[in-house]
């Protein structure tokens, strides 16, 4: 089976795409997606250098993490989707177990229990793993079922999603739990969830919102309230939003110039090199810089969706589509947050914000996408 698969694939590549393509195919990488990602990461490093207050240490640290993440992407891309599918349940259950472990004996530092630590060796955030494991688990469950999924399958999916999401929410990490849930929901949506059910779920979700409100932590509620009216607490919780909007707005069309943003360089903007790096971009590079980045993101999503469509089994399609759409949710929530149309949730601007773990997760996701694209069998359509 394996051998056949490989031969057919090679021939197809040689037939249709020429020599150059076949090199990329052999590497299991998509050149266009890779180019877009590298452009984004390169530009992101330029922004980060300024946002970190011209800190070479931070920038080089981020660059080396990008190196690790790219390597991880490359490695993942070498596995065939079916292999990944087989390992998915194991990864998923290990992830859930670790979430429970975090819940039980997690690091109490910073008021949030997110880390699992073997002191001196590794600090690991299980919720990062779940960003990929949950949508993959849903896809792995669904792909052999008749689609669109039946009610029973849906309920099982809800269970698959619900358990880790609740655990992450309790950490508490609202941003990540929403992203995990989103990724899985995208998978179900792409699997062909009927519009009737979608409508029904929308109504249910709307009616569940108050429930969500009462289960929120005080600081989360505060964030929502502050989002609704940032001027109510200009020096406290509203400070971030006001300063961020001020930074972006004062940037204008062309921006104040690289390293010349007063809001960011004089530290009026909080978390400027992590969650609020988008405001630095907006201040120093203006509307033009923002639109360039937005365009890069949209192109990556477009290419990603195209790659998912070329996948030849349902698992690959669903996982690829889910990953790409989740990637866009990152972008939308983060830029929506810094520009003041969404509440402040701790979601980084993908591949631009400082932070190693999320970069690795994201690029591993794109690695899966590339694997899905490059491991193809010729099947009758």
């Amino acid at each position: 089976m394996k051998g056949l698969e490989w031969r057919r694939f090679s021939r197809a590549s040689a037939d249709g795409m020429g020599r150059k393509r076949s090199l990329w195919s052999r590497l299991h990488l998509d050149p266009w997606l890779l180019l877009l990602l590298l452009s984004l990461m390169g530009a992101g490093l330029v922004v980060l250098y300024s946002a970190s207050g011209m800190s070479l240490a931070v920038t080089l640290g981020q660059a080396s993490r990008f190196g690790v993440a790219l390597l991880a992407m490359f490695v993942i891309a070498q596995f065939s989707p079916s292999t990944l599918c087989r390992w998915t349940p194991i990864g998923y259950f290990i992830g859930v177990a670790m979430l429970v472990a975090v819940e039980v004996m997690g690091d109490m530092g910073m008021g949030a229990q997110r880390w699992l630590e073997i002191p001196g060796i590794i600090r690991f955030q299980p919720s990062e793993l779940m960003k990929l494991a949950v949508p993959m688990m849903v896809a792995a469950y669904l792909y052999k079922r008749p689609l669109p999924p039946s009610m029973r399958d849906l309920l099982i999916c809800v269970l698959i999603i619900g358990v880790p999401v609740m655990l992450i929410m309790r950490q508490p990490d609202l941003g990540t739990s929403l992203l995990v849930a989103c990724a899985a929901v995208f998978v179900i949506f792409l699997a062909g969830l009927s519009w009737r059910v979608i409508g029904l779920l929308t109504v249910l979700l709307a009616s569940a919102l108050p429930l969500l409100w009462f289960n929120m932590h005080e600081y989360q509620r505060q964030r929502v309230l502050t989002f609704l009216n940032p001027e109510s607490d200009p020096l406290g919780a509203g400070w971030n939003i006001i300063q961020s909007k001020t930074a972006i707005g004062s940037g204008g069309v062309f921006g104040k110039g690289w390293g010349l943003g007063t809001q960011s360089q004089l530290e009026f903007l909080p978390e400027r090199h992590t969650d609020f790096i988008g405001a630095v971009l907006g201040e120093e590079w203006g509307l033009i810089g923002m639109l360039v980045f937005l365009a890069l993101y949209v192109l990556i999503v477009g290419r990603g969706l195209f790659l998912a469509n070329t996948a030849q089994d349902t698992f690959g399609r669903l996982v690829g589509g889910g990953i790409v759409l989740t990637f866009f949710i990152y972008v939308f929530v983060n830029i929506g947050m810094v520009s003041g149309i969404l509440p402040v949730v701790g979601i980084p601007l993908p591949l631009v914000s400082f932070g190693g773990t999320s970069s690795v997760t994201l690029l591993v996701g794109f690695g899966i996408l590339m694997s899905v694209h490059s491991h193809r069998r010729l099947l009758p359509r």
């Binding site: 001020t246 972006i248 969706l305 469509n309 589509g321």
Partner: protein
């Protein structure tokens, strides 16, 4: 995996569905990205100006640069209020994380005692503009500065600031003229021009310092600085230097002032000397004085209490607020009133049996000399200060004619240009009494008013002003303390407001002056003892003001009581008679008769002013004065 596997799994349909769904998702992605783009367009293009302003406000802080306060000189150019460098402890509360802990640390470092700590804490709580240094303690000594410097790293937000502090070289003698500056309090803060006073800690509280506050203060400058989010100054963007306060030159002659203070020799009283031609106040003493420097650095509550409770009332400015019965010093003015109203001629002789009787009244109004002065004309009446003569004049004039004439000399109102807190005194009249007491005027009251007793209340400044007008033969001058404001001789408006006093016959001035001259130089003059060896002609008039009652809440032991019930001694004079250079009013409280206890002081002062041949004094100054006049005309 299990039995219900695959019967209806339709791969082609799945691909179709996926394609449709992902296309839909792609559209949604574009839509959302468009939404973000629109939002960014709104922020960065539509609202760009709003956010630019906001961002500038974040970054740029305007810091005030306080001006240095103008200096004050006396008429000879001697410094009477200067600025000396001091070091103050300030705190910017916004930069202090834990105010209480920081204050504790500072208290510890400085080794302050209980009362200091309390004042210190009170000041730290005072309302203050954000990010402005609040004054905690002024005038640190070197030891304290050193200790603070060593501990600076433990005290973020606490700074030692170099500043000019007001200092008065002769506080006791000048305290009531100059007043003093003190820390701006919360009420003042509310009314002050915020911009101009943003960096200023002190303001004129009384006296000249208050009167000329605006000129002395100057115009604050500012600098715009770029700060980071923690308020640290990164660089200066723009600077407008402050405009220092204008220097003030007073009409006061420190030497004369010092002498007047010394002449009072520890007694309670006041001496005011005015240059008649100009209205320059040459000396204005209220004794005892106080150390105004204590008020600059912040007087302790205990010291303030003891000053306030001092029976000699050192904080009370007698020269401008002290109200005394005018006594016999009214007589020259009353004589003029009688002449002008035609109720007497200079030659008319009135017989004094030692008392005066109203036509339908058996009561005897006594002369001070029990057996009477016999035949008395105007000149003699003034020289011997005959009461019977002036009872007659008062009766002939009536109270209203007398008081309306007195108004012309500035009694009953504040006429001074720039003397803070001056009182208007009291000029009694029918209407005044009706308004004040709701009572009719009794004829007997006119008689006592005729010798300056009863309701009359005058301040030493008013008395000296009237004397100057008298010396000027009615030409009104407005008394003032400031000679020049600033470099360019910005002269206050000296001429004014009140019409000159006109008499039908000019010679009547001479008649009254002759009488006043006889007071000092005549055989019978009440102050003839001061006339010995006089090198110029002096016109004077003694007076005695009866003390009818004591002030409220004043407690005295028996000896003190006796002393404080004694009459106030008054003396007014001007000299030389034909070219008056100085007009003087002297009041010595509870000293007894004016001729014996106050006249000598006036003579000594006039001697000093008119006879001192020190090149650097008034004579040189007169030449300058003439020069100015030549230029002016």
């Amino acid at each position: 995996m299990r039995k219900r596997r695959d019967p209806i799994k339709d791969t082609a349909r799945e691909v179709r569905v996926f394609r449709a769904r992902s296309l839909l998702a792609a559209l949604l992605v574009l839509l959302m990205a468009g939404g973000l783009g629109a939002r960014l367009f709104y922020l960065q293009v539509v609202e760009h100006d709003v956010f630019t302003t906001r961002s500038e406000k974040n970054r740029v802080r305007v810091e005030p640069l306080p001006p240095t306060r103008g200096l004050i000189y006396d008429r000879q150019g001697q410094l009477v209020a200067e600025n000396r460098p001091t070091y103050n402890l300030t705190i910017v509360r916004e930069r202090v994380e834990d105010l209480d802990a920081t204050l504790d640390r500072v208290v510890d470092i400085l080794g302050l005692d209980e009362t200091q700590v309390e004042a210190f804490r009170k000041r730290s709580r005072q309302r203050q503009r954000p990010y402005q240094p609040a004054l905690l303690m002024s005038d640190l000594n070197e030891r304290q500065i050193a200790r603070l410097a060593v501990n600076r790293y433990r005290l973020p937000g606490v700074e030692v600031e170099a500043q000019w502090l007001r200092h008065y070289p002769d506080p006791q003698i000048m305290s009531h003229v100059l007043g003093y500056v003190g820390r701006i309090n919360e009420q003042e803060l509310a009314t002050l021009d915020n911009g101009n006073y943003a960096g200023t800690h002190y303001i004129g509280k009384t006296g000249i310092e208050k009167q000329y506050e605006e000129a002395l203060h100057g115009q604050a400058g500012l600098r715009k600085v770029e700060t980071n989010a923690r308020g640290r100054v990164l660089r200066e963007l723009e600077r407008t230097p402050p405009e220092p306060g204008k220097d003030l030159t007073l009409t006061i002659d420190t030497r004369l002032q010092q002498m007047a203070y010394d002449l009072l020799d520890g007694r309670r009283g006041s001496i005011v000397a005015i240059q008649p031609q100009t209205g320059d106040i040459l000396a204005m003493v209220s004794a005892p004085g106080f150390d105004s420097n204590e008020f600059v650095t912040g007087i302790s509550y205990k010291d303030y209490q003891s000053l306030q409770q001092d029976l000699d009332l050192p904080l009370f400015n007698r020269a401008v607020r002290g109200q005394y019965p005018i006594g016999s010093t009214i007589k020259p003015f009353e004589a003029l009133a009688a002449l002008q109203n035609g109720v007497v001629t200079p030659q008319e002789v009135i017989y004094d049996p030692g008392y005066y009787k109203l036509p339908n009244d058996s009561r005897h109004y006594r002369n001070w000399l029990r057996w009477g002065h016999g035949r008395v004309d105007l000149e003699r009446a003034l020289a011997v200060s005959n009461n019977t003569y002036f009872y007659t004049m008062a009766h002939r004039l009536g109270i209203d004619a007398l008081s309306s004439f007195m108004y012309k000399f500035g009694f009953g109102e504040v006429t001074s240009l720039d003397v803070q807190g001056a009182s208007s005194g009291t000029v009694p009249s029918r209407e005044w009494k009706r308004e004040k007491y709701g009572q009719a005027w009794y004829p007997g009251e006119t008689l006592s008013a005729g010798i300056g007793q009863g309701y009359w209340m005058v301040t030493p400044l008013q008395l000296a002003t009237a004397e100057a007008t008298l010396a000027n033969r009615g030409d009104w001058v407005r008394p003032h303390l400031a000679k020049r404001v600033g470099e360019a001789s910005v002269e206050p408006p000296f001429k004014n407001t009140k019409p000159d006093v006109k008499l039908d016959k000019d010679v009547w001035w001479d008649d009254v002056f002759n009488g006043m001259q006889k007071v000092v130089s005549g055989r019978e003059g009440t102050a003839r003892h001061i006339g010995k060896g006089l090198k110029y002609e002096m016109a004077g008039k003694s007076g005695t003001a009866q003390v009818f009652s004591l002030g409220q809440n004043q407690k005295y032991d028996a000896d003190e009581l006796k002393e404080r019930l004694r009459d106030h001694a008054l003396f007014t004079a001007f000299a030389p008679v034909d070219d008056p250079q100085i007009a003087i009013a002297v009041i010595v409280e509870n000293a007894g008769g004016g001729s014996s206890h106050a006249a000598g002081l006036a003579r000594a002062l006039a001697d000093e002013w008119l006879l001192s041949d020190d090149e650097n004094t008034h004579q040189a100054e007169e030449l300058i004065e003439e020069g100015v006049e030549v230029e002016g005309t």
